[in-house]
Symmetry: C2
Subunit: 257 residues, 2 copies
């Protein structure tokens, strides 16, 4: 006679204050409230969130591993500086390595994956439409400039989230937890890359077309097609980021001599 349900604590949210603080700081970092290179005060965050420094400390140790913040002993944490061009190239190579392997492992795609990809792609298209609407709207003067800017940023974030969802669907079906973890770790870096791009999203049509090609490759009988489509997609993304925007800040990090 067990009065408790058979699954008393398998699903319930069991997270300490540390996890809540982590998500809050992550939100701050992802919205770009603090500029790269700027200090991230432990006590300051603790005061801002009305908690003690201890959970803030634990959350920052976790964030340090993601690469979003860097730590210098006895000097505190800082928001990681923007990616330099060399790091960008390395990042895309790493992504290509992980995601093409995951795509190959997910081939042939089962119906569940095909359905998940179709759904994710539909959402991605919606977000893409909204990005285009907002960029057009910004020309009109219906809203205040800052309000228009806010909506535009919101649309861009939604777009990137749906983009990532698409890739995550494939990852989830590759059957390799280590590749999934690697991709997640790289994801934080990818976000830094996007944050470093000051201008809006200019390749909505291209990206959506490449995603569509990946779906069609999964639907085709050619078992080498999905991996090839994914490789092409990531290389094109890299090309657009590296070649079409050669003026991206190539700030070199000079160590103190």
């Amino acid at each position: 006679m067990n009065a408790q349900p058979p699954i008393p604590r398998a699903d319930i949210e069991r997270r300490g204050l540390r996890d809540l603080v982590y998500e809050h700081i992550l939100e701050i970092l992802l919205t770009g409230e603090i500029s790269p290179g700027e200090r991230v005060s432990i006590d300051g965050l603790a005061r801002q969130l009305n908690v003690s420094p201890t959970p803030v400390r634990e959350a920052l140790v976790d964030l340090e591993r993601t690469g979003l913040v860097v730590r210098e002993a006895l000097r505190g944490y800082r928001v990681s500086p923007p990616l330099e061009r060399g790091q960008l190239q390395e990042l895309f190579i790493a992504r290509e390595t992980v995601e093409t392997t995951a795509t190959r492992l997910a081939t042939p795609a089962d119906d569940e994956l095909l359905r998940a990809l179709a759904d994710a792609h539909a959402e991605h298209e919606k977000a893409g439409d909204r990005v285009r609407e907002t960029t057009e709207q910004s020309n009109k003067a219906t809203d205040t400039p800052e309000e228009a800017r806010r909506i535009q940023v919101s649309a861009a974030q939604e777009y990137f989230a749906r983009d990532r969802d698409f890739h995550d669907r494939i990852l989830e079906h590759c059957g390799n937890r280590y590749l999934v973890k690697m991709s997640q770790d790289l994801g934080a870096q990818v976000h830094r890359l996007r944050q470093a791009l000051p201008h809006g999203i200019t390749d909505v049509a291209e990206a959506l077309a490449e995603h569509r090609a990946i779906i069609e490759a999964f639907a085709s009988p050619d078992s080498t097609a999905p991996e090839a489509a994914m490789r092409h997609h990531i290389r094109m993304v890299a090309h657009r980021a590296l070649v079409e925007d050669p003026q991206t800040p190539i700030q070199e990090n000079h160590e103190d001599p």
Copy 2:
């Protein structure tokens, strides 16, 4: 009159207590002082190391990301359970993905890499000889059994360290920091794998021969040879771990239904 040298803190070790605690706990985990699944007490470690719980906490957050310990909110940390067979297979696939890519990127090898690999391989051979000596010595009764066992474990650890050094030399020359980080993250898992193998090292000759083949591939003019040699090596390691030891504990993790 500046008594301090002109470069007072560019190279000197600038690490807080947290890093020292981290290394100490890592040492405890790697030597297997605590069995998998057993609890890792925060306060207990703090008392054992004569420090306060705060730095222990930070070190454990860091260790959690490596996968060596797992955390359950409000219930503390535990040593991660041994790898199941499925995880093993996934781990080898992930390693093959990362290391073959790194090998390809390190091709063609410059003289520095060739020299580094030759040196690392020489050390690896020495460690291999010592492993064979100690396993033979264990038959003789010159030392006490526990002393012989201790020497044997020490030789095995040295052997694994030199093995890893060999792979790290290639990683260092691939020019991609993200692949390096991925390989390091996987390294902790690989250690868990080795710790799960109760018997001694039985493939010294094979592993050394495969490493030698990788060196020769780097020296050959065929630019596809090194990657192929590395892929063959990792697949053979996986084969020996998965096929020759089919009796390894295949404990399945049943989630509570």
